[in-house]
Structures are given as structure tokens and as C-alpha cells.
């Protein structure tokens, strides 16, 4: 059984159809990349999978670990093991990162009928993961993402991913706005989460990130449909030749 099975997914926002029939299958242990020009629907796909209600699913099915994903609320999807790293993580003044992480961890544990994580174990966990992402512990007492640079925000996303231990991690243009050093640190974090129990979906515009997070499969999204799939070499080809050379959705490879 695939970890994530998307069949003919269609979605719209503001009455305009963005996803026009997506088909992907991701197995545990695999890293998939979705690339595409601006406006192709990459972020829409990520947001729809995460459960953002501003997007309307107009057709198709998505199964996650055998369950009907589209029937679950955003918080239920997170508790079932789906994690999305946002492209533009929002700031939440007044909620400390520490409080937020603890609330998230305990919400997921509660969902699985586990007891709350005790304070000591929580701190130990955070210390370990923040070291991995080269983040100073001081961020814990600051409000979520407040005053964080672009790089820090993205690292905070991957930190959360590391702490919440998802079955499927979706990275929505995690490399946008990052310099090489930040990208390396983020990639190190993501790579440390590779495991036979976990699937990773990397949504990206540029091939560069994929030098660091090497994908098993690459899919090209254009006008709301996947028009070509391949392995990591497809990404290199796109880098060299751009998106223009690919056939339009009408003539699918």
C-alpha cells in the first residue's frame, strides 16, 4: 500500500480550477520532487494536502496510509502524520515557540492516546533537534517566527518537522529565499529524516535544492497536471533546458 496515493485530484480557489487531475503515488522511504513553472499549482497541491479550506477540492481522491485524507481536518491530518513546511511561515506574536511546540507535540500524543510529554523530555528533544539545525536555544523563548530571518523561519519549519516526526513531510518551496549556507543546513535536517518509514515530498521551483536533497522521483507540474515524471536526472535536464521544452498537458509523455 502506498503511503500517499493521489488519484485525479482537482482543486480550485476563488472559483478558478488550479489542479486539473493530479496522479502521484509515494511509498514510504521515497523522496519525490515536484517542480514546475510559477502558477503551475505546486503550492496549491501542498496546501490542499495539508487541508487548507480556502481551496476547494472539486474531484479525485487522496489516500494517506490507507485513510481518506480529504475527509480529515487539517489538525487530524497532522495527527495522522502529515507535516507541511510552509513557504511563507507566519509570525505569531505572543505565542512562544516553546509553548507552541509543546502544544503541538501534546495534541498529537493525545490523538494517539498517549500521555503528555514531560518537561524534561521535551527540553531534551528540542535541544537535540535544534543542534541538528544549528539553532540557538534562545529562539524557544521568542514568539513563533517573530523577528526571524527568512533562513531562520525555514530552519524552524524543519525543526518542527524533526520534532513532530511525521510519516509524510511536504516541503513547500523550502528553498525560496535561502542562501547556500541556509540551504545546506535545511537539507541536512531533511536528509536526517530520511527513513524507510517516512515519505518526503519536495515542492521546488529550482533544481538547486535537489543537489542537496536528492530525490528518487521527479515530477513536473504544469497548468495543474503532471506532464512528466522521471528520476533525478529529469531535474538536471530542466535546469539546463528550462520548462519550455516539455510538451503541453494535451500531449502527455
Amino acid at each position: 500500500m502506498a503511503l500517499l496515493e493521489i488519484k485525479n485530484l482537482r482543486a480550485a480557489v476563488g472559483g478558478r480550477e488550479i489542479l486539473k487531475g493530479i496522479n502521484i503515488s509515494i511509498n514510504s522511504g521515497e523522496v519525490h520532487a515536484i517542480m514546475g513553472p510559477n502558477g503551475s499549482g505546486k503550492s496549491t497541491l501542498a496546501q490542499v494536502l495539508a487541508g487548507r479550506e480556502t481551496y476547494e477540492v472539486t474531484g479525485g481522491q487522496v489516500s494517506f496510509d490507507g485513510k481518506d485524507l480529504l475527509e480529515l481536518s487539517a489538525e487530524e491530518r497532522a495527527c495522522e502524520g502529515l507535516f507541511m513546511a510552509f513557504q511563507y511561515p507566519v509570525e505569531i506574536p505572543g505565542v512562544t515557540t516553546s509553548y507552541f511546540l509543546k502544544a503541538a507535540i501534546n495534541a498529537i500524543r493525545k490523538y494517539h492516546n498517549q500521555s503528555e510529554l514531560d518537561a524534561m523530555d521535551f527540553l531534551k528533544l528540542i535541544k537535540e533537534k535544534s543542534k541538528l539545525l544549528e539553532m540557538d536555544q534562545s529562539f524557544l523563548n521568542r514568539s513563533v517566527n517573530e523577528g526571524f530571518s527568512g533562513g531562520e523561519k525555514k530552519r524552524n519549519e524543519i525543526l518542527q518537522m524533526a520534532v513532530l516526526n511525521p510519516r509524510l513531510a511536504i516541503l513547500d518551496e523550502t528553498d525560496s529565499g535561502l542562501d547556500i549556507d541556509a540551504m545546506k543546513i535545511v537539507s541536512k535536517g531533511v536528509n536526517s529524516l530520511r527513513s524507510p518509514d517516512r515519505g518526503i515530498l519536495v515542492v521546488t521551483h529550482y533544481q538547486r535544492l535537489l543537489n542537496y536533497i536528492v530525490p528518487d522521483f521527479v515530477h513536473v507540474l504544469r497548468d495543474g497536471k503532471i506532464i512528466k515524471s522521471g528520476d533525478k536526472n529529469l531535474a538536471m535536464e530542466l535546469e539546463a533546458r528550462g520548462y519550455g521544452w516539455l510538451e503541453s498537458p494535451a500531449v502527455v509523455a
Binding site: S73, E75, A78, I92, A103, V144
Partner: protein
């Protein structure tokens, strides 16, 4: 007791309530009161035709047949219970308790305080430097009386609190001025007054609280004057926690000398109809003022906060952050005026107003008012009004946090953002605990 069915008679009615208040043998106070009374009769009460009162209709106040509370008009038992809920003794605060305009020493505590903290009447009676200080400052912070309410207070306040902090004195514990309004079957009118004179280099924290008991629609018409000496560092917290039926109108005037640093926090939780007028004048170069506000409203409350920051001198920074959480059919007003006078170069003024509407019927009206007469200044203002931020909500939910909990979290966070700017740590913790409890009690943490 006079009925006030006819609004046109009510100036005389209120003037009657204002006469017959003692001047404690001070001629200056007697003539100040006389002037104020004639100002009151000339100005009348503000109406919605007055620009500054366009959004707040005081007719409900004018229609109420208030009575003057009698002396010692509450039982000790009533008071002990009420005071227990609003006292700040638990955070080691000094405390003066006034009930219906009268000072109750048996409930007050100024132990260990070496400075002069007491009533205006007592200070006048001393007939020394202290009483000279009062004569020089009381009712003198503005050139002209602002409106009918302010005039009425000067004309008719019974007694009030007077604090004099001498130069270079540092007071670590907060000084709490608690004004309670207790009524029986008829609505009462009380006019609390505060005068604080702080010398240069002073560091102190003051709290003024307004609360009460009784089912009637009482009126607290309050006035506070705060004179801050050069390089002093003063924090003033106002806690308006009147009963749900009460009317509360207040005029606060603050004057800062050179290099002084002042932070104000105005918290509104209670009251049916509330208007706070806070005017701060930066009257010396390098003086700095921070004005923070947090209003929680629900039901049919109407809470109006007007602020005025007068940049009279150069190199003065000012910051304003006023936040409102409105539920039910409540309405709120924020009007922040910034005046930058000619010569007030290098002014750096920043004003932010943020309101969260937790129900479809709640309404918020927020306006800046800038009058700038100097050319080398920075003045920014921003305002947002809307429901809880959808991006923030989704972010929390995407991490597994249930929607109801996410909403509560964001509501507390919104409020806490103002509270954690409080300088005094003990006070900050007290306020955070209080607001969390109030948000819960008012169901503002569960609104859709």
C-alpha cells in the same frame, strides 16, 4: 431627588450634585471650583456633534437620575468581599482605598512608604509645602478645561489621592489607588481624583483601579494628573473593571519634563459606556512616552479610548499600541491624536491600533489624527481590524492543534502581547493571570 426625564434640565441637576463639596479651607480650591462650575455650565456635556465625541453618545448618562452617595455608605462586610477581588496586596503593593469618594484608612496600607501618600484633603490641611504643591498643580495641567465632564470633576470632586515623590526617590513596590463605587437602590455618582507629583530622577509604579458593586448604573467621573520630573521613570497602569451597568468617564493628564520616560497601560474590562481621555505632553527634550491599551468587550458594551500625544519638544520618541478584543454586539473606539509642534524636531512617533472582532456584530472604529508642524520628524501609524488571523490559525492547526484551542491560544496571545510590555514584573504576572481569567469569563476565548 430630581428626575431628569428632560435632558435640558440636566445641567442644573448635575451642577446641584457638584455644589456642596468641601474646599477644606483652601481659598484657591474654592475659586478653582467656582470657575470650573461656570465652565461646566457654559460647556455643557459633549454631544455627538462635537468632533471628539462623535462616536460616543452620552445621553444614557444624562438621562440617569443619580444621587450623591451618603457618608460611609457601604458595610465593612460588603467592602471586604469586594476589595478581596480587586486588591493588589498579594503583589506587595501599597494601597489606598476610596469608597464612593471617601477614603477608608482601615482598608488601606502604606506601611514602609516614606513618601507622602494620602488624601488631597489631608494634604491641604497640612498647610505646608505639600499643600503649596497641590495648589500649584491641581487642575492646572491644561490651559483650558477639556469638556463638561472634566469641569464637573474639578467643581465637585469630594476628595482624592495625592502622592508626592521627592527627587531621586526609587519606589520598588507599586502604589495602588483603588476607587470603588457601591450603590444601593439608586445609581450614584462618584468623582475620583488623583494628583501625583514626581520629582526628577524618580522611579515608581502607580496603579489606578476602578471597580464597584450594585445593580444600578453608577457613574464614575474620574480625573488624574501626573507631573513627572526630569529623567524620572514612571509606569502608570489603569484598571477599569467597573460593573457591567456602570458608566465611566475619565480624563488623565500627564506632563513629562526633559529626559523623563513614561509608560502607560490602560486596561478596560467592565462598564456599559466608557470613555478614557489620556493626554500626554512631552514637555522637555528627550522625554519618552509609551501608551499601551487593552480592551476586552462583549455584550453591548461601548468603550472609547482617546489619546493625545503632544510633542512639544525635540528629540522625543513616542509609541502607542492599543489593542481591542470585541465580542457580542460590543463597540469600540480608538482615536489617537499626535500633535507635533513647531520646533519638535527629531520627533519619532509610532502608533499602532489592532482590533480583533470575535463576532459578526462587534464594531470597531479606529482613527489616527496627525497634526505635524515640524519638518524633521518620523510619524507612522497603522491600524488593523478583523477576525483572528486565518494564516496564524491554520499554522497552529497544521501542527495538530485543534481549532478551538488554536483560537483560544491566539486570543490570549493577542492580549498578552500588550501585557508583557509592563515594566513591573509582579504587576505583569498579576495582569496576565487576570486577563486569562477575564477572557475565559467573558467567553472571548471561545468566540467563533
Amino acid at each position: 431627588m430630581i428626575q431628569t426625564a428632560d435632558l435640558s434640565n440636566n445641567l442644573e441637576f448635575f451642577a446641584q450634585l457638584a455644589t456642596d463639596t468641601p474646599s477644606y479651607g483652601a481659598d484657591w480650591l474654592e475659586s478653582l471650583r467656582r470657575e470650573a462650575l461656570s465652565e461646566f455650565l457654559r460647556l455643557g456635556f459633549p454631544t455627538t456633534h462635537d468632533e471628539q465625541w462623535r462616536l460616543t453618545n452620552v445621553a444614557p448618562i444624562l438621562r440617569t437620575a443619580f444621587v450623591r452617595p451618603g457618608p460611609r455608605s457601604a458595610t465593612r462586610q460588603q467592602l471586604a468581599h469586594l476589595i478581596g477581588t480587586v486588591s493588589l496586596r498579594a503583589i506587595d503593593s501599597h494601597e489606598l482605598v476610596f469608597v464612593n469618594g471617601e477614603f477608608w484608612p482601615e482598608f488601606s496600607s502604606t506601611k514602609g512608604l516614606s513618601i507622602h501618600v494620602g488624601t488631597i484633603s489631608e494634604a491641604i490641611h497640612r498647610n505646608d509645602q505639600t499643600s503649596e504643591l497641590i495648589a500649584r498643580n491641581l487642575g492646572r495641567q491644561t490651559a483650558a478645561v477639556v469638556d463638561g465632564f472634566a469641569a464637573l470633576n474639578v467643581a465637585g470632586f469630594r476628595d482624592g489621592a495625592f502622592i508626592h515623590v521627592p527627587d531621586e526617590t526609587i519606589i520598588t513596590q507599586p502604589i495602588h489607588l483603588l476607587f470603588l463605587t457601591i450603590s444601593g437602590d439608586e445609581p450614584v455618582i462618584v468623582q475620583p481624583r488623583i494628583l501625583i507629583v514626581a520629582g526628577h530622577g524618580v522611579q515608581a509604579t502607580f496603579v489606578q483601579s476602578y471597580a464597584g458593586a450594585g445593580e444600578t448604573a453608577n457613574l464614575a467621573n474620574a480625573a488624574c494628573e501626573l507631573c513627572i520630573g526630569a529623567n524620572a521613570r514612571i509606569e502608570m497602569v489603569k484598571l477599569q473593571r467597573e460593573t457591567p451597568q456602570a458608566f465611566h468617564v475619565a480624563h488623565d493628564h500627564v506632563r513629562l519634563r526633559q529626559g523623563a520616560n513614561f509608560q502607560s497601560l490602560v486596561i478596560n474590562i467592565g462598564g456599559a459606556l466608557v470613555r478614557n481621555d489620556l493626554a500626554v505632553i512631552l514637555d522637555g527634550p528627550g522625554a519618552e512616552a509609551t501608551l499601551n491599551g487593552l480592551t476586552l468587550s462583549t455584550g453591548r458594551q461601548h468603550i472609547d479610548n482617546h489619546t493625545m500625544l503632544d510633542h512639544a519638544c525635540d528629540h522625543c520618541p513616542s509609541h502607542e499600541l492599543y489593542k481591542c478584543l470585541l465580542g457580542g454586539s460590543s463597540s469600540g473606539v480608538f482615536k489617537g491624536k499626535i500633535l507635533v509642534r513647531p520646533g519638535a524636531q527629531k520627533t519619532d512617533a509610532k502608533q499602532t491600533s489592532k482590533s480583533v472582532l470575535l463576532s459578526d456584530e462587534a464594531v470597531m472604529n479606529s482613527q489616527p489624527q496627525l497634526e505635524i508642524y515640524a519638518d524633521d520628524v518620523k510619524c507612522t501609524h497603522g491600524s488593523t481590524t478583523g477576525p483572528l488571523d486565518d494564516e496564524q490559525l491554520f499554522y497552529l492547526r497544521s501542527r495538530g492543534i485543534e481549532e478551538a484551542q488554536a483560537r483560544a491560544l491566539l486570543t490570549y496571545a493577542f492580549a498578552r502581547d500588550v501585557l508583557y510590555r509592563t515594566w513591573h514584573h509582579g504587576l505583569r504576572s498579576y495582569l496576565e493571570t487576570l486577563i486569562v481569567a477575564e477572557l475565559h469569563r467573558l467567553h472571548l476565548d471561545q468566540a467563533t
